[in-house]
């Protein structure tokens, strides 16, 4: 009992020291789910970290730990960062949600930012990007470019984020090409080159001549290149090494503006809990250069759509849209609420197959 008491006292004292010892430098921690060299999700977060270093120079110190499994290990890494005096910690995977909340409770003075989750607290903000806006642009290009009218889609996990992307791409492909059909393969991974390559090959064999992917490796691009005349899009990062063909455009995650803004907020004391969901307009979602293999008129339309999405003039989910079973979801001219989008678990009308569960 005495030992526990001693430990508890030590803990309180040390935590006090850790958080009160406000050095002049602002310390920012990043917890990564993959390696910084994955070329996709974690790579882009690390680019954001580097942008923070560049923006604030000597006023900021950044630390990161990569390959952190989602679970108790993440909780330990976050605690370690907080103990070592981090002022702001970005936890960059959905699976860190409950751990972030747990650690945030123990360190009320440290600010936490959790990517793609939905639980906030006094010192926990959440942020995510409206990738579905980019999917709308992809759908538009894909619908125009397909000749077989079969578009393949490599999906990762059946979560709202991914389902939104499928729906958004489908709606916009269908708009320009009423005969279009989507074939979806669930890879159950975010990053697994072998599985992704298999999925791409299977889709190509089924007649797909455009492949969209919600997984992070370039394996589908390589498979498309080998097949010859299959169109692909870069995911998470530009994947420009496959431009101008098969990669004709891409969705790029750009966390730099957000990371810089939030670090600044901690520095000047203006940080408060926010629920950020930014899209093309705020620069969190970037559309990689549309290559010349896309017909000029299609490219012009796509760029116009990017403009309208950025300015807010156009919403990627604008009615009339029915759910898959035919029940009406959005009336003529109505746009989807963020609440509906955040928990989206259904396909829109016209998509074939079921959302797996």
């Amino acid at each position: 009992m005495k030992f526990t008491k001693l430990m508890a006292t030590a803990a309180v004292v040390a935590m006090g020291l850790a958080t009160n010892a406000l050095a002049e430098k602002t310390k920012v921690g990043f917890v990564y789910v993959g390696p910084v060299g994955d070329g996709g999700w974690t790579y882009e977060h690390d680019q954001g970290r580097k942008a923070v270093v560049e923006a604030f120079g000597d006023d900021v110190e950044t630390v990161y730990v990569e390959n952190v499994p989602e679970g108790p290990d993440a909780e330990r890494v976050m605690t370690q960062m907080a103990l070592e005096g981090a002022d702001l910690i970005f936890t960059t995977s959905f699976g860190y949600m409950d751990q972030t909340i747990n650690v945030a409770k123990k360190f009320p003075k440290v600010k936490f930012e959790h990517a793609t989750g939905y639980k906030t607290a006094e010192n926990v903000s959440v942020y995510s990007a409206r990738f579905y806006e980019g999917r709308a642009v992809q759908g538009h290009i894909a619908g125009n470019m397909t000749e077989s009218n079969i578009i393949g889609y490599i999906a990762s996990f059946p979560i709202p984020e991914v389902i939104r992307g499928i729906n958004s791409a489908y709606i916009h492909a269908k708009k320009v090409n009423p005969d279009v059909e989507f074939k979806i393969i669930w890879a159950y991974t975010w990053f697994d080159p072998a599985k992704e390559a298999d999925a791409a090959k299977a889709l190509i064999e089924q007649g797909a001549d455009v492949i969209l992917q919600h997984t992070d490796s370039t394996a589908p691009q390589a498979a498309a290149q080998a097949a010859g005349n299959v169109v692909t899009f870069g995911q998470a990062s530009d994947m420009g090494e496959y431009a101008p063909f098969p990669r004709v455009s891409s969705i790029i995650d750009d966390w730099a503006p957000y990371y810089i803004a939030r670090t600044k907020a901690v520095m000047d004391g203006s940080w408060s809990t926010v629920n950020t969901w930014d899209g093309i307009g705020a620069g969190m979602v970037g559309i990689g250069e549309i290559s010349d293999r896309v017909p000029a008129d299609v490219k012009a339309e796509a760029l116009a759509m990017v403009e309208k999405l950025a300015s807010g003039e156009y919403h990627a989910f604008t009615g009339p849209i029915n759910k898959q079973d035919g029940t009406p979801w959005l009336a003529e001219g109505e746009t989807a609420s963020d609440g509906d989008l955040a928990g989206m678990s259904f396909y829109v009308e016209g998509l074939v197959g079921d959302v797996p569960n």
Partner: protein
């Protein structure tokens, strides 16, 4: 001329010394690696081995050693019994997953009823789940002569698919906005495997691990079954003549290792982890194989080896965070430890002779 000469008897002294020597050599080789990466080697080694135990924030890391080491020890103890008898259960990771799913499933079925009976029921379900999963390779082996290494390993991937399906379907949190993953058991008092004394990291899984160490020790040293296990491993022919029933032994060893792995999964999901999710398993079942061998398949050795592995994980993370060492360098460092241990193991059975080749 340097020659290896087989010792007539394995050296007792080397058997005890090699782990320590391996650690020291790893520190030296690791130090060279870290300095090649432009880091201060002494600081890096200190960060990995010293800071978690005696550094400024050791009050937090010491309990974490138990949290990280507990499941490793619990699983490794089970595996070591089979390994001693030449029964290779490589699929503890799968049994760990199934134990967690069964245990958490029982807990979630009762949600939100509060009762003191729920947690014991979950523990039983966890052990049963792991046991049942290990019975598949065990029964296939004794009935059809299949290879338990392959079958148990393949069942890990089946278990992972089952885990994904549970996270997305049956056990998905109905209030989770469509995201995968179950309810968090940490928020459900009756099912929560909380710390027994706050701040010590000591949860029921650690208690179970310590009990398993003691039981395994007693079994191997005082019980006829333990003797049979050792005999089968060391002298299979003698065992057969001695009337050891190999079928019973396979079923027993696979069953115990499966049940212990299942328990480890249950204690993890209801405690430190809290929820069934797609990425719930982080490789404890595989790392435990290393721990079992690092600990010389001896219960006390496994206890120490589990804690040492935990130390390199935790210290490695601290080194990443404070010294910006890349994760890959830490993994190389852990690999070195095992490599040197295996190399030095040679000295237990062989002696090095310098000079002219002797006559065998």
């Amino acid at each position: 001329m340097i020659a290896l000469e087989k010792r007539p008897q394995p050296s007792q002294a080397w058997s005890l010394l090699t782990p320590l020597v391996a650690v020291v050599i790893t520190m030296i080789a690791g130090g060279l690696l870290f300095s090649a990466l432009g880091k201060n080697p002494i600081e890096a080694i200190r960060t990995i081995f010293y800071d978690p135990l005696f550094g400024e924030f050791a009050f937090y890391y010491r309990p974490q050693l138990l949290v990280k080491g507990g499941p490793l020890i619990l699983i490794a103890i089970g595996l070591s019994l089979g390994f001693r008898a030449g029964i290779w259960n490589i699929g503890a990771e799968g049994q760990y997953i199934v134990g967690a799913i069964c245990g958490a499933g029982v807990g979630l079925a009762f949600y939100p009823t509060e009762s003191a009976f729920i947690f014991p029921l979950m523990v039983m379900a966890g052990a049963l789940g792991g046991w049942a999963w290990s019975m598949i390779p065990a029964l296939l082996k004794v009935k059809f002569g299949t290879n338990e290494i392959l079958v148990s390993l393949m069942l890990v991937y089946v278990a992972e698919q089952l885990l994904a399906s549970m996270s997305l379907g049956l056990l998905k949190n109905p209030q989770g906005f469509g995201f995968p993953g179950s309810r968090n058991l940490q928020d459900y008092a009756s099912a929560h495997n909380a710390e027994i004394i706050a701040g010590t990291g000591m949860h029921w899984g650690i208690v179970a691990a310590f009990i398993a160490v003691i039981m395994a020790y007693v079994l191997l040293n005082k019980h006829i079954l333990g003797f049979n296990i050792r005999l089968t491993g060391e002298a299979p022919r003698a065992a057969r003549f001695g009337g050891v029933n190999p079928t019973r032994l396979v079923v027993f060893c696979m069953g115990v290792s499966g049940a212990l792995a299942g328990l480890a999964g249950l204690f993890e999901v209801s405690g430190p982890s809290g929820q069934i999710s797609i990425d719930f398993n982080v490789g404890y079942g595989f790392t435990a194989i290393i721990v079992a061998f690092l600990g010389r398949l001896h219960p006390v050795g496994i206890l120490l080896a589990g804690l040492l592995m935990a130390l390199t994980y935790i210290g490695g993370e601290i080194a990443q965070g404070t010294l910006s060492l890349p994760a890959a360098a830490i993994q190389v460092f852990q690999g070195m430890l095992l490599f040197f241990l295996l190399v030095l193991d040679l000295l237990t059975n062989y002696r090095i002779r310098f000079g002219k080749k002797g006559i065998a």
